[in-house]
Structures are given as C-alpha cells and as structure tokens.
C-alpha cells in the first residue's frame, strides 16, 4: 500500500480491491453496534485541510477519523493564516511540526495534494483537487455499485454531465476501469476534455441511446454558470438533452441504479422524482463514504512507518 492517496489513476486493482474489502469489513464490524468506535488510530492526528467549502466531505472524513479514534483537527482556509497569504507549503510544514500524521486536503488547484506529498513526511489524502481527482468519492461510488449489483467486473457505467470540469468523473473513469467496469461518458462535446480519446472509455453525445444498455447511470453536477462561458446555450437546453428525468429513467434496464455524488441541482441534471426513486443510491453513497474513508485512513496510517 502506498503512503498517500493522491489519485485513483495510480491505484492498481489489488490496492483498490483491498480498500473496498476493508471498507466492507469495517462496515460489518460496526453494524448494529452501540459503540461505533474503534481504537485503531488512537494517538494519531488527522488534519482536514480544506481550501474550499465542502461540509459533506469534511464531515465524512472527520467522522471516519473519529470512529478510528484519531485526533482530528479541522483547518479551514477561511479566517485563518491562509487567508492572510500563508503559502500551502508553510501551512503544511506548520501542521506537520504540530504532529499531524495525515493531511486530508481539499484544494481548488489541481495537483495541490501532489505538492503537499512532496513537502511532508506524513500521509496525504486527496479530498478533491481542482478539476483533477476526488479518489475517495470514486471509491465510495465503486463500493456502492458493488454493494447494489454484487460486482464491478463488466458492469456498464454511464457518466453524464460536466466531465471537463469534474474531478469525480476523472477519478471514476480510472478507478472503474481498473476494477473492470465498462465506462461510457456522455456530455455535450464542449464539456468533454480535448484528449478524452486517450481515456479508457467510450464517448457518446446521445444519452437516450446509451441508457438501455446501462447498469449504472452516474449524474455529474453541472453548474448553471457554465452557460455564461457558452459551454451550452441554456439550462433548459442542457436539461432537455442531458438531464435525467422520469422518461429517461424508464429507458434504463429494470435493475439499473442512479447515482449522484452530490450536491444535486434538482431540475438541472436530475429530476426530483429520479433523485428520490428507489433506484437512487444517493443516500447510500453518503453512508458508504464514511466506511470507505475509514478503510483509506486505516490502510494509509495503520501501517508500518516507512
């Protein structure tokens, strides 16, 4: 196991599978227990270093670390020395000097966790960097798929939305491919990166055409502001061509599931009746996030120091 979790792209199948299996074991170990806490990381310190607001991801990591008995420090860039111009490097070295064993970092700049990993001795977990990756989201998505469908190998996953700007999309593309799923990305061409042809995915511009052959449809958040930069003409046109409504959901096979990493834009990329349907795994995804992040922290931090 590597010391850091920086991107799903560099996880091999064995490591990724171990993370999912460990998450499953932790979930069953804690199922139905009154004391939802394990002493595993007692005496270790995990810092949540968040340069972007993301309450749900931060809370999920915080809960994961606390359930493993680690000490948790939440360091929000707002209202701290960071907003007074302290550099990422100085902040990282300060946190390490205070004894942090792991830094969970959310940052608007792609690659910021890679830089951190270069500067600190402890573990670095990428909790979302710019438009690059969000590997624990992909792990919890893969975990949820495996839980619902019983497998990942050969599962047909359709990713729809703002692939160009989505770190969730990038992480899922690489992780799901590594785990044997067949991924199709669907988006208006403006929201696909130049170079998507080098990804291990199929590309389509037609959502209706791919839905009948999907086991999983994963909706990505689309920000309405993108239309100001002419990525698409209007929210209405986007929703009509790429949104998931009840009519489109009916095109899916009976046992297919609907996923969304949240936060959702109801009425934009996903209709309310779809988000709340029994096919939707959106609430499970949140719960699974804690188990997966516990597994990641255990596997990165539990091990022998290098």
């Amino acid at each position: 196991m590597k010391r850091h979790l920086l991107e799903a792209a560099d996880l091999d199948r064995a490591d990724a599978t171990l993370m999912l299996d460990t998450a499953a074991q932790i979930e069953s170990a804690l199922a139905g227990r009154e004391v939802k806490k394990l002493p595993t990381l007692r005496g270790r310190t995990v810092v949540n270093l968040f340069y972007e607001d993301s309450t749900r991801t931060r809370i999920s990591f915080e809960l994961a670390a606390k359930r493993l008995s680690a000490d948790v420090i939440n360091f929000s860039a707002k209202g701290s020395s960071v907003s007074k111009g302290e550099s990422l490097k100085d902040t990282a070295l300060t946190l390490e000097a205070m004894g942090s064993d792991a830094i969970v970092v959310r940052h608007p700049a792609s690659g910021a966790p890679h830089r951190l990993a270069h500067w600190v001795r402890g573990s670095v977990v990428n909790a979302g960097d710019g438009t690059h990756e969000h590997p624990t989201q992909a792990l919890l998505d893969a975990y949820t798929i495996r839980q619902r469908l019983g497998r990942l190998d050969g599962v047909r996953v359709v990713l729809t939305g703002d692939v160009l700007h989505s770190r969730v999309a990038r992480s899922n593309v690489w992780l799901l491919h590594t785990l044997g799923a067949e991924v199709t990305v669907v988006a208006p061409p403006t929201l696909l990166p130049v170079g998507v042809g080098s990804w291990p995915v199929s590309v389509s511009y037609d959502l209706d055409a791919v839905l009948p052959n999907a086991d999983v449809i994963m909706m990505l958040r689309v920000q309405a502001e993108r239309m100001n930069a002419s990525f698409f003409p209007s929210a209405r046109e986007y929703s009509r061509r790429y949104g998931l409504d009840a009519r489109r959901m009916a095109l899916l096979p009976d046992d297919a599931i609907v996923m969304h990493p949240g936060p959702m834009n109801r009425g934009m990329e996903i209709a309310a009746e779809v988000a709340d349907s029994v096919r939707s795994t959106i609430v499970e995804q949140v719960g699974n996030g804690v188990s997966v992040r516990m597994a990641v922290l255990y596997l990165l931090l539990g091990g022998a120091p290098e």
Binding site: S87, G111, R115, R167, R170, P193, G195
Partner: protein, 434 residues
C-alpha cells in the same frame, strides 16, 4: 588593454588555430602564433564561436530585483557564453518610455559583462490598447530596435497592424508573443491527453498558431518585419515555412526548453515546468528541431525567466510561468541539435549569434557589433566551449539569483570555459570575472 593569445582553439569546431585579441578586436588568427607580452589562454580542444546573442531575456530589473538583477542576469549570460542579451520590457515600471530603457541600458553598461540591449514595449503598460512612444525609445541612448509586449500578446489586430507599420520607420521589428488570450483563459499547460488527465486547463496549440497566421498575413500586407517569440508548436512551424516561402519578412525563435522538454514534465505538478507557451508534445519538439535545422526558425532565444522561490514553491495554478535558461542554453542546443547531427557548429553559431544579432540590428554597429564572424578585424566577442564535457545541472550552483531551472539533475553536454566581450574576458576557466 591586455592582449590575449588564445592557444589551440577550433573556430566553429574546425581546424586548430591560435587567436590574438588586441584592442577589442580579433587581431589575427593563425597557426602557432606567438605574441610577446600577451596573456596566454589555454584553449586546447575547445570550440571557438562568436559570442552568443539572446533575443529574449527577462532580467527583472527594475521591479523584481529579488528574482534577478541586471548584474546577476548579466553574469548568468556571460557564463552561458552570451555577449549580448535583449532585456524584455515587462519590468515594473514597464520599459515603455525612453527613460526606462535608458536606465536598463545603463545598468547593463555598469555590469559590463554583456551588452544589455533593452526591448521596448509595444503598448503603454503592456495593456494592448495604445502604442508606446516607440520612436523615442529608438532614438534614445538605448537604441531600441526590438519592440515586444512579451508576456502579453498584442491581441487587437488593428493595433498590431499599426505597430508593424510604425516600426518600419525605425528599422524596428515587433516581436510578438503569439497567444490568442480568449482561447487561453486560465490555461495551465498544453491542451491534450495529459491536460485531460491531470485536470489542468488546456492551452491549445491553435491559440498560438491563429495569432502567427494572422500576423504573417498582416506583416506581408503592410511590408513590415515581424518576429515571433518562443514558437512552440509543429503547426506554427508549418505556418512560418509557408509565410517565408511567400516572401513575408518574418523571423522566429525557439527556446532551448521547447527543443528538449515535453508536457510529460507536468506529471507531478512541479511548477518549475510551468512556462508560457507551455511545454508541448514530442511531435512538436521534433518539428521545432527540424524547423531550426532548416532555417524556418531563425534563432534560439532563452526566454530566461527568473522567479522567486515563493512563486514556484506552490500549487501549479498559483505559480508564475517561466524558467531560467541562460546558463544551459548552449548545452541544450548542443544536446538537441549538434549531437543529433541536425546542426554543425557553424549552424549553431548562425542560430545563436549571427541571426539573432541581425534580427536585433546589432550586426552593423562597428566596434559594438554583435554576431560577427570569427575573423581578423572583427570585434573580439567570442566564446570557447568544451564539447567533450558532460555535467549534471545543480541549480544551487547557478549565477542567476533564481533557482527555477527545469534542467536540475539532468546531464547535459558542453561547458562554457571562456567568454570574451570586445577583447576582455568576462568568463575565464568557467568563472565570471566580475
């Protein structure tokens, strides 16, 4: 003034001779010369070349003396074998008046290690809206002939046309930083497979090529001289080749880093590899080398861009673009062009001295001329290079005040042993003389 007798050098890598430098000029070249009273410089096995001329250097003074000064940049240049550098205009204040360009020129004179030739801004404050006083800068003591908003593109086509036309009266040239800004908003690296995976906003090749295509058409239309800075794509080479074939007065430069490095360097997100225009693909590198070899690209120019540590020890997106290169330029060109057989030493001298001097109109200045051949009677600007040397680059050992070298830890061939500016040594045995 001391007379120097250089023993055993090989001009342009050819036959071994001795060279006598006296009263700022090359007094004689011949076999087994002896000059009583002359200081003898051992140059056994070294290749002699005319002093190198850089069309594109950022010396950062005035404004960012923490990153580089005219003094430290001049020393780096001399150690790299240069005898003249063009100092780019994007200082603070911007070199857009006669006063600023004269200040830079004087600082260069005081440093006394290379001829510091100021570049004047095309537009006031590099803002791209109003022409700077190009004539005043041309007529100043700094004698500006190259005008550039480098760092920014002169994006407005009407303004670019006027600039091209206007400098005709000054025997000047507009050096364009070719980047259509509306195609590169937020751009971080070459747009392609790697940017897609790394999640860094792409800088499309078309943003450079579109401006070059536009500008060669404009230059041809108004009969003006155009110079294209740091060409980085295969498509740009194609457009330049076409324009030259059509008789457009266009010249172009390529940087050492674009001849050697690719966007693969962005893996790991170390901003030392962030540069504008960005590092491109291997196919682009090959096309740039071919273009430099066949003369479509006229010159190698360093785009030496020093940055303070805090502007590089940070997140990729927050880092300033640019890399230093004065001290490794010759080695990189030896590595990519000479050792590959694409250029011989004469070809290297042409691309790194003769042609850049001609583009900057430095070849006809008498005793202060640059880019002249190694011949008796010419100004004694020359560099002596050890072609057999191979060494690993250590940024801490560089003379530049900044450390943002993309070649750290890389083994490169060739070493500048001695440099002479108008008969006086600026570098002896690999050490700057001042």
């Amino acid at each position: 003034m001391t007379t120097y007798l250089i023993k055993g050098a090989r001009p342009y890598g050819e036959d071994t001779v001795d060279i006598v430098l006296r009263d700022s000029i090359i007094a004689s070249i011949g076999e087994d010369l002896s000059v009583p009273g002359a200081e003898v410089v051992d140059a056994t096995g070294l290749v002699a070349l005319p002093g190198l001329v850089d069309l594109h250097t950022h010396l950062r003074e005035p404004g960012r003396e923490d990153a580089e000064t005219v003094q430290t940049g001049s020393r780096a240049a001399a150690l790299g074998g240069f005898t003249a550098v063009h100092a780019m205009a994007n200082t603070d204040p911007v070199a857009d008046t006669a006063g600023v360009v004269e200040q830079v020129w004087r600082l260069g004179q005081e440093a006394g290690l290379v001829d510091v030739v100021p570049v004047g801004a095309v537009t006031v404050g590099l803002a791209g809206t109003q022409l700077a006083e190009l004539g005043a800068m041309a007529d100043s003591a700094a004698r500006v002939r190259v005008f550039s908003d480098d760092g920014h593109c002169v994006a407005d086509p009407a303004l670019m046309r006027r600039a091209l036309e206007y400098v005709k009266a000054l025997d000047g040239v507009v050096a364009q930083h070719a980047e259509e800004p509306r195609l590169t908003a937020g751009a971080q690296m070459h747009e392609g497979d790697r940017s897609a995976r790394l999640g860094l906003t792409g800088w499309p090749a078309a943003a450079e090529e579109a401006i070059i295509a536009r500008d060669v058409l404009l230059a041809g239309h108004v009969g003006a001289r155009l110079h294209v800075c740091h060409v980085s794509t295969a498509g740009s080479v194609d457009i330049l080749r076409w324009a030259k074939f059509r008789g457009v007065q266009v010249t172009a430069e390529v940087t050492p880093h674009h001849l050697l490095l690719t966007d693969e360097c962005a893996e790991g997100y170390d901003p030392v590899f962030k540069v504008n225009p960005p590092l491109r693909t291997d196919a682009d590198v090959q096309a740039l080398r071919a273009g430099l070899a066949d003369g479509t690209i006229d010159a190698v120019a360093t785009d030496h861009a020093p940055h303070a540590m805090e502007d590089k020890e940070c997140e990729w997106a927050m880092a300033r673009p640019g890399m230093i290169g004065l001290e490794q330029a010759l080695s990189v060109v030896v590595d990519t062009m000479v050792e590959t057989g694409l250029l011989d030493w004469r070809g290297l001298a042409d691309r790194m001295s003769v042609r850049p001097a001609a583009i900057g109109r430095l070849e006809g200045l008498g005793l202060h001329a640059q880019g002249r051949p190694l011949a008796p009677g010419e100004p004694a600007n020359l560099v002596l290079v050890d072609p057999a040397f191979r060494g690993t680059v250590d940024p801490a050992a560089l003379a530049s005040r900044s450390r943002n070298s993309p070649y750290a830890g890389r083994e490169l061939p060739g070493r500048v042993v001695h440099t002479f500016l108008r008969g006086a040594p600026t570098v002896l045995d690999g050490k700057a003389t001042r």
